[in-house]
């Protein structure tokens, strides 16, 4: 790939990242959305933005990537979901019963 193309890829990633960030912060500041909706919007935007960073800055692709890198990311996601989700679930359950 030429320098130009690669540089453009970084720029695209940068612009996408800004697009996914700034509106969310603006919505939070304005208070235009109800809490639940805002959290959903922010959560989805964050997940997409992480994907953008992986794609444009960390160059992780679904095809042509060494297998172990993908294994690792998927496994980490699983562990984060188990540990983070589990912690929140357990602590919320305890709080509800206190």
């Amino acid at each position: 790939m030429s320098v130009k193309k690669e540089r453009r890829s970084y720029l695209i990633g940068y612009v996408l990242a800004l697009i996914l960030t700034l509106p969310v912060l603006g919505l939070t500041a304005s208070g235009a959305l109800p809490r639940g909706t805002l959290l959903w919007v922010a959560g989805v935007a964050a997940v997409v933005q992480i994907a953008v960073h992986f794609r444009f800055f960390l160059h992780i692709r679904l095809k042509g990537q060494t297998r172990e890198d993908l294994h690792l990311i998927l496994f980490t996601t699983l562990i984060l979901a188990l540990m983070g989700g589990g912690t929140i679930w357990i602590m919320a359950d305890l709080a509800a019963r206190m």
């Binding site: 970084y10 800004l18 959290l39 992780i60 980490t76 912690t87």
Partner: protein, 204 residues
């Protein structure tokens, strides 16, 4: 084009450095994933403690969303400039260009830290100290840890700049910079989690 490891791949014309990078950066990436679990758990702790303000100040009083926005833009821009530094290395555009982009990234990272420090101080002024409540303890365990990572990355960059002054852009510097780049982008990803969960989640 096949990618051998996360982050920018140097490509075959870099020879030994590209070969060494495959193992070194895979190892570093595994380390990042381990670190991600650390941050993930602190975020889960923060979420569990959102209600535990214990009569102390809460997110509405403490968080300055404008400052967070500027910090986010600074960090995102530094990721771009870090990428440009790495591209300059990959395409052998000369040491000067690499150093300039690195210094820009360092400056942006430094500005991020300065602003973050300013926020911390103003929080302390408003009574938002970690000793005030469980909620604030969780905040102070998480956000400064990210800042500490950014500061360490900055220190590491200075060490690599020192190596460049000593040896030029040799294989050691190349793999070092690739790893630093992975760390830099990873810290961005963590920041996305932090601003979504800590700030947006706190203020929503």
């Amino acid at each position: 084009m096949n990618t051998r490891h996360p982050g920018l791949n140097l490509g075959a014309h870099h020879g030994a450095a590209d070969d060494a990078a495959e193992v070194e950066i895979f190892g570093f990436w595994v380390f990042m994933m381990s670190d991600a679990v650390l941050f993930g758990l602190l975020m889960a702790t923060y979420v569990s403690f959102l209600g535990a303000t214990h009569g102390g100040p809460g997110p509405q009083t403490l968080f300055d969303l404008r400052s967070i926005t500027v910090q986010t833009v600074l960090l995102l821009t530094s990721s771009l400039t870090m990428g440009l530094a790495q591209l300059a290395m990959k395409h052998e555009e000369g040491t000067r260009r690499i150093v300039v982009w690195l210094l820009v990234s360092l400056g942006l990272g430094g500005a991020f830290l300065a602003l973050e420090m300013h926020d911390f101080l103003s929080m302390i002024d408003k009574g938002g100290v970690p000793q005030a409540s469980g909620f604030l303890s969780a905040y102070w365990a998480l956000v400064p840890l990210h800042g500490l990572h950014v500061a360490s990355a900055g220190l590491w960059m200075l060490a690599i700049l020192g190596q460049m002054a000593w040896y030029g852009v040799d294989d050691g510097v190349k793999t070092g910079l690739l790893r630093l780049g992975v760390l830099w982008h990873f810290l961005d990803v963590v920041w996305i989690g932090i601003f979504t969960i800590v700030f947006v989640g706190g203020l929503a």
